[in-house]
């Protein structure tokens, strides 16, 4: 539990750094940081509960996309402002690095394993973004229709 909270705090600072680098407007930095940190905590939490990296990445990206969608509707802002800093910690940079080191060490079995995992993690992020964006569109469409009735 403590390690989860600690990683939440670390991810908060990490996302804050990304917010600074990409010039997120000051008033949206807290929300963006929170989204990024909860995404990372979801990733760690799923990992601790026995899910593999790809599945945890998918769930975390879903959470980030969902929270960002809500924030963009609340603040009436472009969703990119919340999604980009939130997604960045989940991008499989570590896996890509391990792929590369395995490749240098001529360990092609590991290269293939890590490489596939890297590609699948990137794909799972993409899939999560797509799934949440499409679902939110349908939900908003239906709720608008319902309020018109």
């Amino acid at each position: 539990m403590i390690s989860l909270l600690l990683s939440f705090a670390f991810a908060l600072v990490v996302t804050f750094g990304f917010c600074i680098l990409f010039h997120v407007p000051k008033r949206h930095i807290p929300a963006a940081c929170f989204i990024g940190a909860s995404g990372w905590m979801c990733f760690e939490f799923c990992g601790l509960n026995g899910y593999d990296q790809v599945a945890s990445c998918f769930m975390a990206a879903c959470l980030v996309a969902f929270l960002s969608d809500i924030c963009s509707r609340i603040f009436k802002e472009a969703i990119t402002i919340f999604v980009i800093p939130g997604i960045l910690p989940l991008v499989p940079g570590a896996r890509a690095y391990h792929t590369m080191t395995a490749f240098i060490a001529n360990d092609f079995d590991k290269t293939l394993t890590f490489g596939t995992e890297t590609v699948f993690m990137a794909c799972s992020i993409a899939l999560a973004l797509m799934a949440v964006a499409s679902t939110m569109k349908v939900i908003v469409f239906i709720s608008r229709r319902l309020t018109q009735l």
């Binding site: 990683s7 670390f10 991810a11 600072v13 990490v14 804050f16 750094g17 990304f18 917010c19 600074i20 680098l21 990409f22 010039h23 997120v24 407007p25 949206h28 990372w40 009436k76 802002e77 472009a78 990119t80 402002i81 999604v83 980009i84 997604i87 960045l88 910690p89 991008v91 940079g93 570590a94 890509a96 690095y97 792929t99 590369m100 080191t101 490749f103 240098i104 060490a105 990137a122 992020i125 993409a126 973004l129 797509m130 964006a133 499409s134």
Partner: protein, 260 residues
């Protein structure tokens, strides 16, 4: 015949679109902004086609004997700036709902274009935050934290320096990662308890193509396949640059006698 006012509107819309595209907005947002600004000024026929490297706009006054006007805007280079996207988004909403004059609108856009990023010192600190806390998340300890903190701002400084002298993104990512990997290994050589992998991963995360991936997916979703593919290619290229950069540095390290 298109009149002077409409031409001004076209220039205003194009400027807004160009700024958005350069700052890393999705295609549909750019097209939507341009269309809405033009429609707000009563131009009956507007059509926009945007890709990451250019915007094409056609407009027509709608008379039987009027000519169609087409404007092609080439977009070179990009710099992610979410603040500008947010500002222009607000501006477009304001421009279409209130009766802001075109000249005033132009002034606002110019002001937004001039707006700088956060000051360099703050950005260096941000880069340090990213690298150092990432190295902690990937299993580093206090010493790794300090090394990654220094290395992060150093690498980011190199990146912005290379950006100033107009190198392309491939060389930039390559050099930064090579430097990061080399110095992490050097630190490990001097202090064997250092976790070099954690430091290198922390520095890699600074340049990871998260923006390109996110935008590619959002472009695919709205049906802009061409732009989606272009951005996906960009993401793959960046990832390759990062991997080769770190890889070359590590191999060189192996060549001069250090173990990997």
């Amino acid at each position: 015949m298109i009149n002077q006012v409409q031409k001004k509107v076209l220039l205003l819309a194009l400027k807004a679109g160009k700024l958005m595209m350069k700052s890393g907005a999705e295609i549909y947002r750019v097209e939507d902004t341009i269309t809405r600004i033009c429609k707000a000024c009563d131009i009956p026929y507007v059509d926009v086609f945007a890709i990451p490297t250019g915007i094409f706009v056609s407009l027509d006054a709608g008379d039987a004997d009027s000519n169609v006007y087409t404007y092609v805007k080439r977009i070179k280079g990009s710099k992610i700036d979410l603040g500008k996207i947010s500002k222009i988004n607000q501006f477009a909403r304001e421009f279409t709902t209130t009766d802001l004059s075109i000249d005033a609108g132009m002034e606002i856009i110019d002001n937004i274009a001039k707006q700088p990023l956060y000051p360099l010192v703050l950005r260096l600190l941000g880069a340090s935050c990213v690298t150092s806390f990432f190295s902690m998340l990937f299993g580093g300890d206090m010493i790794d934290f300090c090394i990654a903190f220094v290395l992060g701002s150093g690498v980011y400084a190199i990146s912005s320096l290379l950006d100033k002298v107009d190198t392309n993104f491939f060389i930039r990512c390559f050099c930064c990662c090579a430097v990061a990997a080399f110095f992490a290994k050097l630190a490990w050589f001097l202090l064997p308890t250092v976790n070099a992998d954690a430091i290198i991963i922390g520095c890699l995360m600074l340049f990871v193509p998260g923006v390109a991936i996110t935008n590619a997916i959002r472009d695919f979703l709205t049906g802009d396949m061409l732009s989606g593919l272009a951005r996906l290619c960009e993401a793959v290229m960046i990832a390759l640059a990062l991997a080769t950069g770190a890889g070359v540095a590590l191999s060189l390290w192996g060549l001069i006698g250090g173990s990997i």
